[in-house]
Subunit: 362 residues, 2 copies
Amino acid sequence: MKYDRVYNFSAGPSMLPLSVLEKASAEMMNYNGSGMSITEMSHRSKTYDAVICNAVDAVRRVMNVPENYSILFLQGGASGQFAGVPMNLMTGSNSADFVVTGQFSGKAAEEAKKYGTANIAATSKPANFTYIPAQEDLVLSPDADYVHICYNNTIYGSKWNYIPETGNVPLVADMSSCIMSEPVDVSRFGLIYAGAQKNLAPAGVTVVIVRNDLMGKAMPITPAVLDYSIQAKNNSMYNTPPCFPIYMIGLVLEYIEAEGGLEAMKERNEAKAKLLYDFIDASEMFSNPVRPDCRSVMNATFVTGNAELDDRFCKEAAAAGLVSVKGHRSVGGMRASIYNAMPREGVEALVSFMEKFEKNNK
Amino acid sequence: MKYDRVYNFSAGPSMLPLSVLEKASAEMMNYNGSGMSITEMSHRSKTYDAVICNAVDAVRRVMNVPENYSILFLQGGASGQFAGVPMNLMTGSNSADFVVTGQFSGKAAEEAKKYGTANIAATSKPANFTYIPAQEDLVLSPDADYVHICYNNTIYGSKWNYIPETGNVPLVADMSSCIMSEPVDVSRFGLIYAGAQKNLAPAGVTVVIVRNDLMGKAMPITPAVLDYSIQAKNNSMYNTPPCFPIYMIGLVLEYIEAEGGLEAMKERNEAKAKLLYDFIDASEMFSNPVRPDCRSVMNATFVTGNAELDDRFCKEAAAAGLVSVKGHRSVGGMRASIYNAMPREGVEALVSFMEKFEKNNK
């Protein structure tokens, strides 16, 4: 492959479109005739202001974000938002409902307990997180400040196949591992946040899309850099923003738009996932534990049922240029993260490697 | 100049060594034979682990950081630490002493009030921040949890010319705009923090150097991502770190070591600053308001005394390839930030431009 690149199935940070990397590389010493790198530029300069405004506009356009939502670029990752969301939003009844469908949604609930009451509205933990609870199984409090879900579970490879109805209570979703993978009706959510390092940009920027009426009520202990209202008033530049990843968001979204936008991403991603899941379902060696209607399109987990064989699979795959297919350290097995930037050819190469591996290890 | 680059006097983000940018550019599609970009790599991979460990080791080596200090790479900038420091450290008497010598040290005190009592130990505000208070003028409380200073004031162009004696009370310093510009006796400080975007790396990573005995006492409301103890236990990877800026820290420190380390930086920086201040002091048009013994080596401010002329100066300088010399929007005038990466030639070019400008505008 060009530049001797591999197919990189890492769950995040993860593959970026090659054309984006090439552009970043070419502009590294001199961005757009400015005489300096994007990494060297004052964030208060006109040139950088155009870069960040372009990235905000592109998020709005590509995700079709309604005008009554603000788009923020913050720091600290989704883990930072596990604290940021309650500090900003848990200020009415000082309680929120959490649907726990994996490790990160559990961590979000734990972190929120520092700031108020975190009710567990439902959890699939007893079933090892192999499914997403149904609407009728969610125990929601009408006076909760918000309901929190993790829309795609990176570690367990599951995904919400519906947007829960929460009445007047704002729905908050961690979309770190599925943002920009398909169209989403943003108006159904009060707040969406996502660490960018999976489908959107290098690590170091967190996208927060927040309905304007939810801002301005932050707890007095909220650090200014995590206060949505302060950051919104300052176009995410209350303090120096993570300039390079924001610039990369602009480039990645330019790529997504050129490729046909989120409808095209969805079609492509579902086709890639189908290829892999179909093979797994037909295989006698590999299996996927997630209930089929809850399977993630972005992160496909699979096991052989034999830890030693799993290990050999990961090593031989890496040697064949199929890298980072090891499952999360907390669950073992394998995981192929097949975000937007993973070409179909990468999934084909993985499936054909799995085929050979199965034959060779009968 | 190569790549049509300009001399960029921005206060931050600011110039980086060209060789560092060239290396980052060359490795952007394939880092060190890994088949992927540093921006695409799992932070849990062996390859990335070597990158972050190398950066930590380099900070320790270059700054001569004693073994009883931890080196953390966090997110949220120095502004994030304005909250992070009190949440981690203000847990004894729940009060701290602040020496206010400019805008950022003032902001640090304001933010700390969210978490406890912020005593103003001294301030040079009545003198428009043109000097640093003397040791004997600091009103320090023996039971304060720490004393906070901003070691170099980017906006006003002043710098501490001594390390204050604080007895048993830990000294905390914001070194955002002077870290790595000269050797510093780290053992005199309880904690040093710095946004990297001035002298160390692109924006998006904050270096925290903290004495180990000061960790482990964070307030229960501290977000996990800002909890020093949690991050130290996880080698700054409790959550996904800002991988690219951390990689760049490694490259910048490699450059600094190759150039002779902090002793060489100090010598070079002082010579550059002398060139500029000597010219200003001899000039009839330009003046610098800071008390000579408190002048910053990194950020030299100057004015003509005529706002219109200042404005023309900035515009004509930019046209001549001397960019971002406009003073901070809160103070006006001019400011030349001459960090490590600004070559002597850049300062010479600025001085000779100032000379011409003065002649032409008599």
